[in-house]
């Protein structure tokens, strides 16, 4: 589904990604771990098309197409979803109605009929229950006055509504207490599907107790220096990242 080949990217003038290779197939959950500044979030942003980054080498194929050639909204319509590390507060824009506009843009792109308000509110109700978020909350202005945990839950709620093919979760666990983390993770787990892939970017192993990945990759200085199964996360948790920073060869994908 997703093939990242020798991806190099700059954030502003700084080289951040220095040759990332990664292959993700439908149904798989990949965890990207790494120390601060290793390029984890940059990778997530480049995949979603955030302005401010320049890809200098390499390519990204998503379902056989050149992902990097698409505008952010086109990627979303093709099924790419980014759960933000820092969801943006947008006063004056209704969360559910903007989501309705987004879902209808995606449906239109797929050649499906647009949903009316009644059908859409049915979906809102169902998905709000799925990720255990207050329906009143999701009807407010986008993230306005939400707590940190509510913002993260809203991200997962949006993901549930938009039903992406490839979900990228950027540090979804950061700033969450253990109860909020459990709720967010169980929401994510309920969205695991054989036809859906997930890339979970995290600094801490803790999240992976709840969202169990198929593969774990360690990103250091803009390169994947080690890949393994879920048990590798525990090793990282015990030993930290420093010992890996000397690892030489970048490794593509897991042990399958």
């Amino acid at each position: 589904m997703l093939e990242i080949q020798n991806l190099h990217a700059k954030a502003g003038d700084t080289d951040v990604l220095r040759g990332v290779d990664l292959t993700v197939r439908a149904g798989e959950v990949h965890a990207i771990m790494g120390p601060n500044g290793s390029g984890k979030s940059t990778l997530a942003h480049v995949l979603a098309g955030r302005p401010g980054y320049t890809v200098t080498q390499g390519r990204v194929l998503y379902r056989g197409r050149d992902l990097l050639a698409l505008a952010p909204e086109e990627r979303a319509r093709e099924g790419v979803f980014l759960a933000f590390q820092y969801p943006v507060e947008i006063p004056g824009v209704s969360n559910v109605y903007f989501l309705k506009a987004a879902l209808n843009a995606i449906r239109k792109h797929r050649g499906e009929p647009e949903l009316d308000a009644v059908d859409f509110l049915g979906i809102v109700r169902e998905k709000a229950q799925l990720v255990d978020i207050d329906e009143a909350l999701v009807k407010r202005a986008v993230n306005e006055g939400f707590s940190g945990g509510e913002k993260k839950r809203n991200e997962i709620f949006q993901m549930a509504v938009l039903e992406p093919t490839l979900a990228i979760l950027d540090e979804t666990d950061s700033g969450l207490d253990i109860d909020a983390l459990r709720i967010v993770a169980s929401g994510v787990n309920r969205l695991r599907r054989p036809e859906r892939a997930m890339v979970v970017v995290t600094h801490y192993q803790r999240l992976l107790n709840y969202i169990v990945p198929d593969f774990v990759h360690v990103l250091v200085e803009g390169r994947i220096v080690r890949s393994g199964g879920k048990e590798m996360a525990f090793e990282l948790d015990e030993r930290g990242y420093t010992w890996l920073e000397k690892e030489p060869a970048p490794v593509g994908r897991g042990q399958s």
Partner: protein, 444 residues
């Protein structure tokens, strides 16, 4: 002789003809006209070195030879339809500065409420001598003086003490031109007695693609414990000049609010002055301007805290596109002895293009020592983080921009408590923003 002096000469000559014409009006009014004209001749039009007009070049307005708009002209049916009156409340239509009996309807008679042609009110009500042209007083701009000199009619809204009018009063000022550049002087006088209460919606409209000038003055007197909510919708034609003065004088515990929505005209200027002449007064000044092309809109406000224990809240927002220019100058004066003043002023501007420009100058002048005053000004572009957030969900860039622009403006639109006005502004916004109709319901 300089060009500027020639300009004042033309006005003086037409004033001499005007003063010689046989009109039955009280002598105090004639005197006030003469004095206003004398002040205008003495001062002349402001130039670029005049601080209050530094960013607003009025040369095209000064150069244009405006002739008096035909007092007998009638707007066509489409124009009247386009005024967008709600079904609620009395309505007044002023055409080329004249109260139109044919188009106005005062609705059922209400005890204590008089809505009259201004000319008639001035002739019949000697007590109005204490109100007309008094509020505007010495600090009046030359345009206000020209209005005092030339305005013959308009609307008078007189509320007896203790009267509450639930329905909003609509006053629509329309200019009808015959192709030549014309000027209409129009005036609104509101006198709200002790403990009375009303809402007034003034709107301004005229033809697109015609050069004309509207010179409007609105004076509001709010008696003790009275309340007046004033709304202004300026949607003049695209080539129009609009110069307006609003002055409100508040007695003890009086409340006044003004919501100014500026959408039209190639050049518009609002001078607003609020004077707290008694303790415990409250005022709200809200404004939204939306300009594009090479148009300019300018608001100068002055809130004068003369007496203690008064509060003022001012929020102005501007949305500027293409090569548009905006000017906001907000002065809050707290006089010596006006203790416990609570004043708050904010101006926020959204620039949608690199070539748009706004001059924002909030000013405080505080001569008392026990006051709470705050002011601020921000000017920026669409937040790139919010834009990316919306796009990352599948919203097209143009629609996302419209959504964020609408969100910026909408908190002021929501504060319009007259439904027909709020809907008219909402419709304008949707027509103005690309993809406005599609994003309609996404507005929180």
């Amino acid at each position: 002789m300089t060009a500027v002096a020639m300009e004042t000469d033309a006005y003086r000559a037409s004033f001499e003809r005007f003063a010689a014409s046989a009109r039955s009006e009280p002598s105090w009014l004639r005197e006030r006209r003469t004095m206003a004209m004398a002040r205008f001749v003495e001062r002349g039009f402001p130039g670029p070195r005049d601080e209050a007009w530094r960013h607003t070049p009025i040369a095209p307005l000064v150069r244009a030879r405006f002739e008096a708009a035909d007092p007998a002209a009638r707007p066509d049916a489409d124009t009247v339809e386009g005024l967008g009156f709600g079904s609620d409340g009395p309505r007044v239509v002023i055409v080329n500065g004249r109260f139109s009996h044919m188009l106005s309807s005062s609705g059922p008679a209400r005890a204590g409420v008089d809505i009259l042609p201004l000319g008639e009110a001035l002739a019949r009500r000697p007590e109005l001598e204490a109100h007309l042209g008094v509020v505007t007083g010495e600090s009046a701009s030359v345009f206000c003086d020209l209005n005092t000199a030339f305005a013959e009619d308009g609307a008078a809204v007189l509320l007896a003490p203790g009267t509450t009018l639930e329905e909003p009063i609509h006053v629509a000022h329309v200019q009808v031109t015959d192709g030549r550049p014309t000027v209409a002087y129009t005036r609104t006088l509101v006198v709200a007695g002790r403990g009375s209460q009303c809402r007034i919606v003034e709107s301004f409209a005229g033809p697109d693609e015609r050069t004309y000038l509207t010179n409007a003055v609105t004076e509001v007197h709010v008696g003790p414990n009275g309340r007046v909510d004033h709304y202004k919708l300026q949607r003049e034609g695209r080539e129009a000049f609009h110069v307006a003065t609003l002055v409100a004088r508040l007695q003890r515990d009086a409340r006044f609010a003004d919501h100014a929505i500026s959408l039209g005209a190639v050049l518009s200027r609002n001078d607003i002055e609020v004077r707290f002449e008694g303790e415990g007064g409250e005022c709200v000044l809200n404004g939204l301007f939306l300009v594009n092309g090479k148009r300019l809109t300018d608001t100068h406000s002055r809130i004068d805290h003369i007496r203690p224990h008064c509060s003022s809240r001012e929020l102005y927002k501007g949305v500027l596109d293409q090569q548009a220019r905006g000017v906001f100058n907000g002065l809050i004066v707290v006089r010596r002895g006006a203790q416990k003043t609570d004043a708050w002023q904010t101006n926020k501007n959204l620039l949608l293009s690199k070539d748009a420009l706004v001059h924002s100058t909030p000013q405080l002048e505080i001569l008392a020592d026990d006051v709470k005053c705050k002011h601020g000004s921000t000017t920026g572009q669409i937040d790139p983080a919010a834009l990316f957030y919306l796009r990352s969900r599948g919203i097209a860039e143009a629609a996302a921009r419209s959504l964020l622009t609408h969100a910026f403006a909408s908190d002021l639109v929501r504060r319009l408590e007259v439904a027909s006005l709020r809907e008219a502004v909402e419709r304008h916004l949707q027509a103005y923003l690309p993809g406005g109709a599609e994003i309609r319901e996404a507005v929180a």
